[in-house]
Amino acid sequence: MAETQEILEGAMAVAHAVARCRPEVIAAYPITPQTHISEELSQIVADGDLDAEFVKVESEFGAASVVCGASAAGARTYTATSSQGLLLMNEVLWNIAGMRLPVVLACANRSLSAPLSIWCDHQDAEAIRDCGVIQLYAEDNQEACDQHLIAFKVAEDRRVLLPAMVNLDGFLLTHVFEPTIIPDQALSDQYLPPYKAVLKLDIDDPATFGAFTEPDKCMEGRWMVHDACRRSLPVIEEASAEFEKVFGRASGGLLENYKTDDAETILVAKGSISGTIKDVIDEMRDEGTKVGLMRIKTYRPWPGEAVLAALKGAKQVAVIERGGSFGAGGIMTPEVKETLYDAGLRIPVSGFCVQLGGREVPPDGIREIIDRVSSGEKQTAYEYFRLKQELLPDLVPEV
């Protein structure tokens, strides 16, 4: 079946890809830079092109609660948000994961306040890292679209039954026009049959979801979320392989290893910054520097084995982040270190926070990082890269 490419804005493309998944209940609250996704979906529903209930809510807490309830009632559900909106969903997301409801959502990644910024980084998604939501990251708009189909497929798989979130960089993807294929409806239907809930809310057969547990049972209830999330790793690989079979293009998966095979220096990153990194790698390869990129496409569950396989031959690793754990260091950096350390490898891993709140990372910044770590400079503890010292006041103000 011929699928045609169109020049589309990222958020619009995602909305149409989501519609092809035939969600039955959508609830969302506007927040920049996500708004165009839910706006377009509400238009698609209003036009009668998608047989779904679009529930207008008073907040992201309400949006998450609506899809939680609708999913428990057996519907395929979708929501999208950003930044503070995701944080407002946080409480409900832990419940959705614990109740094992396959809600799919998108996060148009945006910084967190304060200071107020509407621009891209990954602090929002990383702040909900530990709640049991599967997290996929897109490099471009095509991948963001395709990952939505994969997200539904994986989330609804009976071996998984967990919420899944597709991350696409705010503005850098959501507002950028790219040639994109909207998945064909017939192929989408073939790939994603209607959702059949294992357990659902039923007035004639009542049940309590996420019921009260005494201390003798609660730990097992939480462990099941951990276990299901771990077990989703091979399911994500399967669903991505099937995607390629049905649609004829590769998308999804756990990692992308770009020129890593013989690389001495490997960068680790996720999201749209990978495009810039690949350009720099191409240039530096031409100059004879053995450098590659391991791009994280599946961030939760953490694809430890695949990460180890990609990095184990490297002489040094640099993790490029768009977030951090204040008072500790990076977020992905220690995860990469843990994977290597657990395998008995002491490859130096440097961590760099290159961008918060939408700051540009020009190619020469990536080049500087590669030069620094490849020149044998010793491992850099998490560094806020190119921090503008001249902007900082007296850090301990005098009264």
């Binding site: 109740m99 294992v198 357990l199 309590t208 009260f212 209830g221």
Partner: protein
Amino acid sequence: MANKLLSTEKLSIGCVAPPGASLVNKTGAWRTQRPVFKQKDCIGCRACDLACPEGCVFGDPKKKQFDFDPDYCKGCGICAAECPVDDIDMVMEEK
């Protein structure tokens, strides 16, 4: 509960429980105080019964005798606070 995936012995996926699970789970275990229904000056107004957030006050207004169910009472003291004739005391739960 008709669904065979649910039991009261094991957890289910999503910790979905058959209705009435809170009858099996005795939720009064974390109380630090408990009410004492003195049954002396009671006028049978049912304020305690209606105000109890746990629905665990029971009694007969005609007999003017009320008491509580210790398996579910949280010791919140609302019944004692609401009683217009001060016929309910809160005392420390000591075992």
